[in-house]
Amino acid sequence: MNYDIVIIGSGITGASIARELSRYKLNIAVLDKASELPAGASRANSSMIHGGFDDKPGTAKAKFCVPGNKLWHKLKDELDVHIDECGSFVCAFNDDEIKHLELLLSQGKANGAPGVEIVSGDELRKREPNVSPEIVAALWSPEAAIINNFEAVNAMIESAQINGAKLFLETQVTGLLFDDKGGIRGVATNKGDFTAPIVINAGGTHAGEIASWAGDSSFKIIPTKGEYFLLDRVAGTFVTSFLFSCPSKAGKGITVLRTAEGNLMAGPTATEQEDPEDRATTPEGLAEVLKGARKLVPNFPVNMNITTFAGVRANTESGDFEIRALTKPRGFINAAGIKSPGFTSSPAIAQYIAELIREELSDRVKLTPNEKFIPERRNVPRFLYLNMDERKKLAEKDPAYAQIVCRCETVTEGQVIEAIRRGARTITAVKMMTRAGTGRCQGGFCCPRVAEILSRELNIPLEEITRHGGGSKLLVGKTKEFLLNKEGK
């Protein structure tokens, strides 16, 4: 299969690059080894759109964060993505930490982050009455926001697909292909070769390994686990903005936030590990999150917890993003080490990648504007957020919208069918695209129903339906068959 551009990885970085490049007349292939999106760090993170004060001026992070923040405020309407423009507070408990706030304030000013200021602990508590009485001051960043990261990744990649990009799931890159001049020629995968004169490495926690195949050992990815608690929507009134602790070397510290969907959340830890795929939560990690959350919010209502999870982010030794076009092999671009503020930065990084191609690789691919580019993309209808008239209309047009599948998040059968039409093949894919199963019963009610709809719509046996692809089948066989097989009859 011949393409102009192959993008490895369809996290927020790869998806944003795909969408940006789909503004040009290009054949783009986006490859991801997962069965549904988002899968890696883009699925399990704090879903923060950062204000831009946290990064040292002069770093790549500082360069992309503020522009990325601005782009997201525009993209949310274009792509129909939920963003809660709640602002963030960095909380200081003592004089040393106030000094840190002052440093952040000056960084914010240098980075062009608008409206950043230091407020007193009492001012913070006026807005957030549940925070610790021991907080003496806080850095307020009005442009910080919280995004629905499941929606955002799917919106980005869908927008790219609307504009011609092709997405290949369950497609794992196993090696790189080179031309006879030592330039890049494409990638080898478990589904065959994808050839292209430009390959973009947005491989997340695997990006270091992939770069090494191109002979680039200039950076190393340090997989860093972050564990989280996710609480019921009912607890979502506890805090209404994003609360940071003062950061340490390991990360930004434990935060407490209300997600874009109104759940209370706390995390992450920052534990370096060898295995980029180890997303198991640990007793130590969860205890650390709880301790950190209670420091910020003493009566953090952990009894309303609905799930715990962990993500693995792609830290680098430099602590910065690693974004560049290699001179050897030509045609290979790294978009690596994209961790916090990676989600925020991704649309700006994508624009920069286009610039790199235009300026450094125009002999390989020409960027001719695609006049038919459609910037708008609509989400799967969100029944929960519609008013009663909109709901009635939807139900009249399609009765499947008058059937609830997920009680906790009020997701209708119509939404599940629409997600399947857009490519969902697993229980988790439906969850990412519709939020069925994200609520307080965590799929206890909807999982069998979503499985049935998947089976019916895709015309595959119920036993073949998986939770998240691979060997994650839900069921092991029919009841009596199972008994007879066991008895060897």
């Binding site: 198991a280 799930t307 715990t308 009663m388 008058a402 009841t479």
Partner: protein, 417 residues
């Protein structure tokens, strides 16, 4: 017809069907029961094992058989049922009930009285925060029961059961019957969650090991569950180092408790009790919204369906009285207080308008002769034991309340004798 409903009942499980019968028998004209599933009966439809109705019918029935008798009676007295109809919103001020159905679309109903009979749901894994991965193969016992009994599929071949609630015990036996292995049942408390008779009939009879004061401490496996680590716990429920054991299994079934399902009740602005998780009710099963009544597991999780049906009849009858203007507005509201060893109870208030039963559970088991009582001198009954897994009852007659005009509170408790 929509705006001519006297009593609207939400949920056609045992409580809802009985409420329909109770409302019709009390004289309400238009009594409608809404059910979100395609068939009536609620969770009892998937409870195909016997053991239901011993109190009500003096015989052992399966869940569907038990429900069939009530459903038949409901049809006879003229209860209207609407299946595949889900209530997704109740407006606080107007008590407008919003429903959806594929044929009828979205409708607003304005009944004179409402009975909440939504039942309960199972506590999910996240509620107990077990560390580890999130593979497939982890189900609440009820979800697994639906797969096996309703859909005809097996969730796995080798199961560990966490928690000893009744559905977990029933499913342990069911998995064995279907040729699966059950490695054991693990309960974090030092007493079982379910009924003794289920421990005997579902575990002991099949040689399934039952481990008290032991819990799952880690989940293993990327795609499908590959195993769990279990460990004994100390008196503070902290895992004891050195007691960890890895168990290979492809299925983990959870029977770690039931929670009354009150999303709609909250929307309706009804006060929810912090301990029961259900609406605060008086002995008429009237909630803090006078037009809204509640019965069954949505109020407090019962052991026996017979109790649920009884309460359904009462709530339905009182909702009908309310619709017909027959409930006195100045009824008494005497608070019931739980004593030292009472974990939860319902109702929380007594009017004295009718004879009543107060249902309760103890906090700690008493494995000796004891008595359940209501002060001042309203009730006393000797018991051989009292256990958290088995509900106790206090019965109070309306006449007793009438004879005590200055009664300011009722205290219930269970103490050794």
């Amino acid at each position: 017809m929509n705006n001519n409903i006297d009593v609207l009942i939400i949920g056609a499980g045992p409580a809802g069907v009985a409420a329909g019968i109770g409302a019709k028998k009390e004289g309400a004209q238009n009594v409608v029961v809404l059910e979100r599933d395609w068939d009536l009966g609620g969770i009892l439809q998937q409870c195909i094992h016997p053991g239901f109705g011993l109190r009500t019918f003096k015989e052992e029935l399966t869940g569907p058989e038990y429900m069939h008798r009530f459903i038949q009676q409901a049809h006879e007295v003229g209860v209207e049922f609407r299946t595949n109809t889900m209530v997704f919103q109740i407006d606080k001020e107007s008590n407008t009930v919003w429903t959806m159905n594929k044929e009828r679309g979205i409708e607003a109903l304005n009944p004179k009285a409402i009975v909440l009979t939504m039942g309960c749901r199972e506590r999910p894994l996240g509620a107990i925060r077990i560390p580890g991965t999130r593979p497939s193969g982890i189900y609440t016992a009820g979800t697994a029961q639906r797969f096996v009994n309703m859909e005809g599929y097996m969730p796995g071949k080798r199961a560990v059961i966490l928690g000893s609630g009744d559905i977990g015990l029933i499913m342990a036996r069911r998995m064995i019957w279907e040729g699966a292995e059950v490695e054991g049942v693990y309960e974090v408390m030092s007493w079982p969650g379910g009924l003794r008779r289920n421990i005997a009939q579902c575990l002991d009879d099949y040689g399934i090991p039952f481990h008290l004061k032991t819990t799952v401490t880690k989940i293993h496996g990327q795609d499908r569950l590959e195993g769990v680590t279990v460990a004994q716990v100390d008196d503070h429920m902290t895992p004891i180092k050195g007691t960890e054991r890895f168990i290979e299994c492809d299925t983990l079934l959870l029977a770690i408790g039931l929670i009354p399902e009150n999303e709609l009740s909250r929307m309706a602005g009804i006060e929810i009790h912090k301990v029961t998780g259900g609406p605060v009710v008086n002995d008429l099963l009237q909630t803090t919204n006078p037009a809204v009544f509640a019965a069954g597991n949505v109020v407090i999780v019962y052991d026996l369906v017979d109790n649920v049906s009884d309460e359904g009849l009462i709530a339905g009858a009182n909702a009908a009285k309310f619709a017909l203007g027959r409930i006195p507005k100045d009824a008494k509201r005497i608070p019931v207080k739980g004593g030292e060893n009472v974990r939860l109870y319902s109702p929380q208030f007594v009017t004295g308008e009718a004879d009543t039963t107060i249902f309760m559970r103890v906090t700690h088991p008493i494995e000796q002769a004891c008595k359940v009582f209501a002060e001042p001198g309203l009730y006393s009954q000797r018991l051989r034991y009292a256990r958290p897994g088995e509900m106790n009852e206090v019965k109070i007659k309306a006449e007793q309340i009438r004879n005590l005009p200055d009664l300011s509170e009722i205290v219930i408790d269970i103490q050794p004798v």
